[in-house]
């Protein structure tokens, strides 16, 4: 099944070892960004080159891979990455969260609670949570070293002052293990609580920025907030039009050009499971 023209999982073994070393270091220092020698991948930056390299480095022949983009298994990006690994590694692929051992994702964490032994691989466009606040990377490194995150707090202050409650809907920064400020990649704030004390291992890869970071299982992950403006995950106040869920994260879909719209689960696997369960119950 594996394309014989490629090494297993595309990357050469030396590169995988280099990335695994970075991963081990990242796991040892939760939330801390580790530089790595990102390779050119057969797809453009912004399409998940960081995530793909991480996945390629940890993938074994017995793994079952799931790839989602904005929660969906059937978007172009998810489909091509899944197909890519099927071709170069010959591994099993799935759309079922429960069956997957590795889940590569862009922008979401599945609704179904993750379990021990599962690994999430996040595609990260910008790993530096202080990026918009302090443009000098040498200075952001120093701020991380000193644990000086007042700037991020200032950003949060500005968000509340300008937009009132809610603040950033995506990429809401988190404190990992009470030490490092981390960008959870552009997942919605709704998913932030899923990072906290998760039984699964969370790996983050940024290809263009050449950084890897990680949250080991059962690690404290706390969203930045103010005492009088506690962090609150938000979801659209609707039920899913397809499965009726009132707890899942919803996508808003514009259905016509007259303002018609509907809300459906962003997690397609979760939605399908719900629908099946409903049918079974009927």
């Amino acid at each position: 099944m594996t394309d014989p023209g490629y090494n297993f999982a595309y990357l050469d073994e030396a590169t995988k070892r280099m990335i695994r070393r970075a991963l081990l270091k990242a796991i040892a220092i939760p939330g801390h960004q580790i530089p790595f020698g990102a390779r050119e991948m057969p797809l453009p930056y912004g399409w998940g080159t960081g995530g793909i390299q991480v996945t390629a480095s940890i993938l074994g022949p017995d793994d079952t891979l799931k790839v989602i983009d904005q929660g969906a298994d059937d978007t172009t990006n998810a489909v091509s990455i899944r197909r890519f690994f099927h071709r170069v590694a010959g591994v099993q692929v799935t759309t079922r969260t429960a069956e997957a051992t590795i889940i590569q994702t862009r922008h979401r964490i599945p609704e179904r609670p993750l379990t021990e032994g599962q690994v999430m691989v996040f595609q990260v466009p910008m790993p530096e949570p202080l990026f918009k606040l302090e443009p000098r990377l040498a200075e952001t490194r120093r701020l991380h070293a000193l644990g000086d995150y007042s700037l991020a707090q200032v950003k949060l202050y500005e968000d509340i002052a300008r937009q009132g409650e809610g603040g950033s809907a995506y990429s809401h920064p988190v404190m990992v293990n009470h030490r490092y400020l981390m960008s959870p990649s552009p997942i919605p704030g709704f998913d932030n609580p899923k990072l906290h004390m998760s039984p699964a291992l969370m790996l983050f890869g940024a290809g263009r920025e050449k950084k890897i970071y990680a949250v080991p299982p059962y690690t404290s992950v706390v969203s930045l907030d103010f005492d009088d403006h506690p962090f609150r995950p938000v979801r659209a106040p609707h039920a899913c039009a397809a499965c009726g869920s009132t707890t899942s994260y919803l996508d808003e879909i514009v259905t016509d050009d007259r303002g018609g719209r509907m809300f459906v689960c962003s997690d397609t696997d979760h939605c399908a499971e719900n629908q099946m369960a409903r049918k079974a119950a009927e």
């Binding site: 120093r142 000193l146 644990g147 000086d148 007042s150 700037l151 707090q153 200032v154 202050y157 500005e158 509340i160 002052a161 300008r162 907030d225 103010f226 005492d227 009088d228 403006h229």
Partner: protein
């Protein structure tokens, strides 16, 4: 009582230029000292070295904290020095761009030091920011505006509010009124004067404006070619200058 800050035998050379040549200076709690001199006299370098922003090649800077412990400023670890700088000290830059975050609102600028000190209550931070805007004669209703919306004089006042909100014991100022219109300068000087007296701050400031030095300072230090050529009571240095250079400096002002 001990000085709040002591520079001891400070020396610093830039290639062929002696920016600081064996300079010693003590600042006492509640004392306002002006460092005057022309461009290139080393006055700004001295300020930066005393404020921990530039390291001397010889000599040391001792800060006596509120508990009376002496800390060698340049021997501190960076984390400790940064903590010191934003808890016990303030620095007002000549250019507001160096002292403010231009992309952050006035309230956020003032609140940053509170947040750095662990402030995590949004409402309290805003209350403090509003209070300090009023104290520096700015309209608290404008606290969500960015600094670029404010005039030069207001930006300087905002910088002062940002420094003072954490109630530092020691404030450094580098030409705080430089580049401002004369009428704006007078207002700013007066504001600084009253805040300094009210809060009992120790202030070390650099200026080439003799009038500002007379108005604000208890003591004046005259620098030339990297050395202190004269120092003493502000009015005595200006009314009875001894060193030829001080006489020239004072005469130049009176002639202007």
């Amino acid at each position: 009582m001990s000085p709040i800050l002591e520079g001891q035998n400070l020396a610093l050379r830039f290639v062929a230029v002696r920016a600081l040549d064996d300079v010693s200076l003590a600042l006492w709690p509640g004392e306002v000292v002006a460092i005057v001199g022309e461009s290139g006299s080393g006055k700004s370098t001295l300020l930066r070295v005393l404020a921990g922003l530039a390291a001397p090649q010889a000599g040391r800077v001792l800060y006596h904290d509120a508990d009376g412990a002496a800390q060698d400023v340049h021997a501190l670890r960076e984390a400790e020095r940064r903590t010191l700088m934003r808890r016990d000290w303030g620095f007002v830059h000549q250019n507001a761009r160096d002292g403010l975050r231009m992309g952050v609102s006035a309230g956020g600028n003032i609140g940053e030091r509170l947040m750095a000190a662990g402030g995590r209550h949004y409402g309290n931070i805003r209350t403090a920011a509003a209070e300090w805007m009023a104290r520096v004669e700015m309209d608290p209703a404008r606290m969500d505006e960015a600094p670029r919306n404010f005039s030069g004089g207001m930006q300087q006042r905002l910088q002062i509010a940002r420094c003072l909100v954490t109630r530092p014991r020691l404030v450094f100022m580098d030409e705080p009124t430089g580049g401002l219109d004369v009428s704006v300068q007078a207002r700013l000087l007066d504001l600084i004067r009253s805040l300094v007296a009210e809060l009992g701050l120790a202030v070390l400031f650099v200026t080439h404006d003799i009038a500002a030095a007379r108005l604000l300072a208890h003591r004046i230090v005259v620098m030339r070619h990297g050395r202190i050529v004269e120092e003493g009571l502000a009015d005595r240095v200006l009314d009875d200058p001894q060193h030829p250079y001080t006489q020239l400096l004072v005469a130049s002002v009176l002639a202007a």
